[in-house]
Assembly symmetry: C2
Amino acid sequence: MSSNAAIKKTPSDAINPLESLSDLLQEDMGKVNTLILKNMESKVPLIPQLASYLIAAGGKRIRPLLTLACTQLYDGNMPRAHRLAASVEFIHTATLLHDDVVDESDERRGQDAANLIFGNQASVLVGDFLFSRSFQLMVKDGSLDILRILSDAAAIIAQGEVLQLSMTGNLETTMDDYIEVIKAKTAALFAAACEVGPIIAGQEPSAAQAMAEYGLNLGIAFQITDDALDYAGGQEKIGKTIGDDFREGKMTAPVLFALEKADAKEKAFWTRTIKDKNQKDGDLAEAQDIIARHDAINLSMALARSYAKKARLALAEAPDHNIRALLDDIVTFTIERDN
Amino acid sequence: MSSNAAIKKTPSDAINPLESLSDLLQEDMGKVNTLILKNMESKVPLIPQLASYLIAAGGKRIRPLLTLACTQLYDGNMPRAHRLAASVEFIHTATLLHDDVVDESDERRGQDAANLIFGNQASVLVGDFLFSRSFQLMVKDGSLDILRILSDAAAIIAQGEVLQLSMTGNLETTMDDYIEVIKAKTAALFAAACEVGPIIAGQEPSAAQAMAEYGLNLGIAFQITDDALDYAGGQEKIGKTIGDDFREGKMTAPVLFALEKADAKEKAFWTRTIKDKNQKDGDLAEAQDIIARHDAINLSMALARSYAKKARLALAEAPDHNIRALLDDIVTFTIERDN
C-alpha cells in the first residue's frame, strides 16, 4: 500500500530502501508475519516460546522481503509468495538457532542469547522443528521446482557452515575459500529467496536465473559488508557489537587482506589470536589497528562493491518496475550501511 | 537374493527376523547403502568423515528395511524404495546427531561418541546437511504425497524431542505424556517409513493407512522395550550400556510404573536422582532394585506387548506374503530382544 506507506514515511526512512520496500509491501509482509506466527504454534510450549523470542529479537527480514518483491516484480501470485517467504524465513531462523550452539571448550561471551537462556539442546531441536515446518510450507505450496531450489539451498547452507567450521583459525585460508563459504552459508538462501519469485509467476528459466544471480551477488556483498563491519567502528559505538568474528577465530575478508601484507610481528599476532585462540584484553583493538594499517576494511568493501555490481547487472534483466528500482537501491544500501 | 542369503545364514541368524528380512532384501539393502554413501559425499571432508563414522557405528537399519519391505509387499517400484529408504535413514541419522548435542551443565559420560570426537557444532551442522539431503532425495523421487508424509514426520519428531526435553526430570509426567513423546520421537518415523511402501506401489489410502498403523505401533513397542532394557540386566552384561536414561533424568516407562507405587522413601530417591539430578555411585543399582521390587520392567513389557498386538492387527490387512510373515515376526522379535 504505497499511499499509506507514504504518509508514515519519515525523512530517515526515505533513504533506507529496505524500509521503503517494506512499506510498499506492508500488507504482504503482514500476511507473512501472520503465517510465521501461526506456523510456530505447537502443543509443546517451549517451541513458540523460543521461536518467538528469536523472531521478536528482530533481524531485517530481508529474505522474505526479497521473495515478496521478486514475485511482485513479475506479477506472480502473492498468497503463494507469502507462504514461501515464511518458509525462507524459517530456514534462516533455524540456521541462526543452530549457529547458537556452542562447544564446552568455547568462550561463552560471543554466544547469542537464545542459547544462553534455553540451552544447546533446545536451540537444536527448535531449529529442527522450524526447518521441518519450512518444508511443510513448501509441500503445501506444491511446486517441486521450488522444493528443489530450497532443499538444494538448505544442503548448500549446511555445507557452507561445516566448511566455515573447518576453516576456523586456519591462517592458510584463501580468499577463494572465504568466498566459497559466504556464497554457501549466506548467499545461497538470498539466491533461492529471489529465484522463487519468477517461478511463482510462471516465468521462463532465464528470468529465474537472473533473479538467482541478483540474490547470490547481493548475498555475497551483504556478508562481506557484515564481516567488514565486525572490525569497523570503536567500542563506544551504540547498538552494534563488534569483534565476534575475531573472538571466534573466523577467517573473514578484513583478516585475509591484513594477512596478505602482514610482517613477521603481525603474523605472530594473528597466529596467537586466531590460530591458537589465545586472546587477551586489547587484542581486538590491536587487530583493528593492523587492519586499518593495511587498509583492509577498504579492500573488503571494494570486494563487496564488485559483487554489488554483478547483482545490479543481473537485476537489469528484470522488467522496468518501481520494485526493480528499490531492489537496485537495496544493493547500494547493503554495502553503505553502518550496522 | 534369498538363495545367496540362505547359504550364509547361520542358526543364530535364523531366529532373527530382521536378519532374515535383510537377507531376503540383501540386493536392495546394498543399493540403499550405495545411495547412502553417495549422498554423504561433499566437497567438505568433515561431512563424510563424521557421517560415515556414525553410519559405520551401525544401528539396525530397521527403518530403511521397513520401507523396502513395505514396498516389496505391495509389489512397488524398488528403485524408488531405495531412494526413499536412504532418505528415511538420513532423517534418523540427523536425529541421532542432534541428540548428541549436550549442554555445558550436563554430565558428559552419557554422551555419544560422535559429539565427543567432533564437537557440538559439527554434530549439529552435519545433521542439518543429512536432513537437507533427505529432502533432496524426496524431491528427486517427486511424489508430493511422500514429501508431505516425511516432512510431517520430521516436524512431529522435532516436537517429540522438545516435549521430551521439557519433561526431563519432571516427576509429574503421566503415562499418556510418555506415550505421546515416544509416538512422536520414535514411532512417527517408523510409521512414515512403512506408509511410503503402499504409496510407491500406487495402493489405495487404506493400505497406506494400515502400514502406517503397523509402523506406528511397532515403533511404540520398540521404544518401550528400549526404555525397559535401559534398566534391565547387570553392569557386567557385555555389549550393552544401561542407565543412560537414568543419568539423563528421562521419564520412561520403568520409572513411571515404579513411581506409581513409590513409598515416601522411594519418592525421595526419585526426587533426588531424577528431579534434582543429584546422583552418586550405587544409585543406578538402587533404581534397578526399586524397579524390580514393583515389577516395573514386566509392567513396561506388558505395555509394549499391547502395542505389538495393535501392530499385528494392522499388518493383517496386508496381502498374504512371505514378507508379511517376516514383518509379523519382527514385532515379536522387537519386544523379545535383549539388546
